[in-house]
């Protein structure tokens, strides 16, 4: 049994049909990349898994529980944690409060010290308001919030988007480290190269359909697919 299973899910946004029978799985300890062009349904998939959107049909299962149809906080309580593409740092509270907020409901949260060890930059900024952080710092904080909850699956939605290359490199290192520690990660990334560096396995989405499941090596061997679906 896979840790996370998405089974023939159809999701609507208002009246528009976004995901068509999307199925995928993520095994324990695996890093899976979700690839596809803009508007192919990657973020919608993440939101469906997190419970922000409820599928009209199909099921999402996590560690044997059916989680589709449940509230985000319940899903988070089971150990799924989304790091949203817009980061959603709470702007009106401090960095430390952002972390405390995330830690409240976790079963065995990391200590703040451990987080600050992983992200020293955040410690320097701990009493700053969320709104004053730079983009890279925000992304760090967003990932840190998920880590402090010790989530079993991290859903990283476009973690590298809009960041300076040097920061991307840093974050990539951090993410690699997390993966090497055996953390399960589902990552959505426009930056295909970065995603392929990290992932054990990939799914390619196009117009709401899963069109391909492949290893990074297989995918790189098929420039036609890369070009057609990923624009690379």
């Amino acid at each position: 049994m896979s840790l996370l299973e998405v089974d023939a899910v159809n999701t609507y946004y208002g009246d528009s049909h976004i995901l068509f029978d999307v199925s995928m799985r993520v095994e324990e300890g695996e890093v899976v990349a979700l690839l596809g062009r803009n508007g192919s349904g990657k973020t919608t998939t993440m939101m469906t898994v997190m419970g922000i959107l409820t599928p009209r049909s199909g099921e999402v299962r996590f560690a044997g529980h059916t989680i589709s149809g449940r509230q985000p906080y319940e899903i988070a309580g089971l150990g799924v944690q989304l790091v949203p593409d817009t980061r959603r740092i709470v702007k009106t509270i401090t960095v430390q409060e952002n972390l405390e907020l995330a830690a409240f409901s976790a079963k065995s949260p990391w200590s703040l010290a451990r987080i600050y060890e992983t992200f020293p930059r955040l410690e320097q900024r701990k009493s700053f308001m969320g709104r004053s952080l730079s983009g890279g710092e925000q992304q760090m904080l967003a990932i840190a919030r998920a880590l402090i909850r010790d989530a079993r699956v991290l859903l990283l939605d476009e973690p590298f988007e809009g960041l300076a290359p040097i920061i991307v490199r840093d974050l990539l290192e951090t993410t690699k480290k997390l993966a090497s520690e055996g953390r399960t990660i589902l990552i959505v990334e426009q930056n295909v190269r970065a995603a392929l560096l990290l992932a054990h396995r990939t799914y390619v989405l196009s117009k709401g359909h899963v069109v391909l499941e492949a290893t990074p090596a297989d995918l790189e061997a098929r420039p036609d697919v890369m070009h057609r679906y990923l624009g690379v």
């Binding site: 997190m50 906080y73 709470v90 995330a102």
Partner: protein
């Protein structure tokens, strides 16, 4: 000259009550994302709950407790029965349902207690006047300033020094991420709605010795507290206080010079704030 100071003091007392009422409104608005048009009705319900207890016991503290408890419970019930269904609906629907709710609350109170204005006297221990720099000033108004200040201080501690306060403040900015981070926001919504109702009810009872206690007493105050929220900035704790004080001073000081225009001046000030700083004096940009 000393009359101007007295008017400033009047403004402070009026502003204190307005701040309190507006705070309840702004917290609910900030977190739940909609303005509670039944806030004025809850203010009235609080006054009536307090009056019922006061007329039995003649104890103003018990009356305050009753107002708090009753409106808190009314808030819980309303959220569970009605408001809950509206979280996923457009904000316009949410306004409308609270508008309908306001009618229902007012008419229920009228049906139970009739339209006769109820007698809510000044508590005996605060009925006198004190002499301040040569002018006589009602003790109860000073008490009112103190009650409002203490209540605001308690709310400050709750909001800024407790876990639930952190959740509320975060939720005001972004309720979804709080949900994603594993916090049961529904429970928080319930609590905050009831808290907002209780603040309204509490304001109702502490303001009752100044007002005519009747079913329609909340209407004017509702609109004034909207103005306070607009001036101060939605969802902002200090915005509500600042807005309340500004509104109170505008009303009192204009009255001293041109009574005809005291209400007009309030709305003109609101328009001015909107032109200069649309998000309100202490509001965060990009909200609402």
């Amino acid at each position: 000259m000393h009359l101007i100071e007295a008017q400033a003091l009047n403004g402070l007392a009026l502003g204190a009550v307005l701040s309190l009422v507006a705070l309840g409104l702004t917290i609910v608005f900030g977190l739940l994302g909609f303005v509670n048009f039944a806030h004025g009705a809850l203010f009235m319900v609080g006054a009536y709950a307090g009056w019922v207890v006061y007329s039995q016991t003649e104890n103003f503290f018990l009356a305050m407790v009753a107002a708090l408890v009753v409106t808190f419970i009314v808030g819980l019930v309303i959220e569970r029965v009605l408001i809950r269904m509206y979280y996923r609906r457009p904000p316009e629907d949410q306004i409308l349902v609270t508008y309908g709710l306001a009618i229902i609350l007012v008419e229920i109170v009228r049906a139970i207690f009739t339209g006769v204005t109820r007698q809510m006297p000044t508590p005996a221990w605060a009925a006198g006047t004190v002499q301040l720099a040569g002018i006589f000033y009602p003790q109860y108004r000073l008490v009112l300033i103190v009650i409002a200040a203490v209540t605001l201080a308690i709310l400050y501690v709750v909001l800024f020094r407790t876990r639930i306060g952190l959740i509320v403040r975060a939720g005001i900015d972004d309720a979804l991420i709080v949900n994603i981070l594993g916090v049961n926001v529904n429970r928080t919504f319930l609590l905050v709605f009831a808290l907002g109702a209780a603040i309204a009810g509490f304001s109702g009872i502490v303001d009752a010795p100044l007002l005519a206690v009747n079913p329609d007493m909340g209407t004017d105050l509702l609109v004034q507290s909207f103005v306070v929220v607009v001036i101060g900035g939605v969802g902002s704790f200090f915005g509500a206080i600042l807005g309340g004080l500004i509104a109170g001073e505008i009303i009192s000081l204009t009255t001293a010079f041109a009574a005809d225009y005291s209400s007009v001046a309030l709305y003109a000030a609101m328009a001015l704030v909107l032109i200069v700083r649309p998000q309100g004096l202490l509001g965060v940009e990009g909200r609402a």
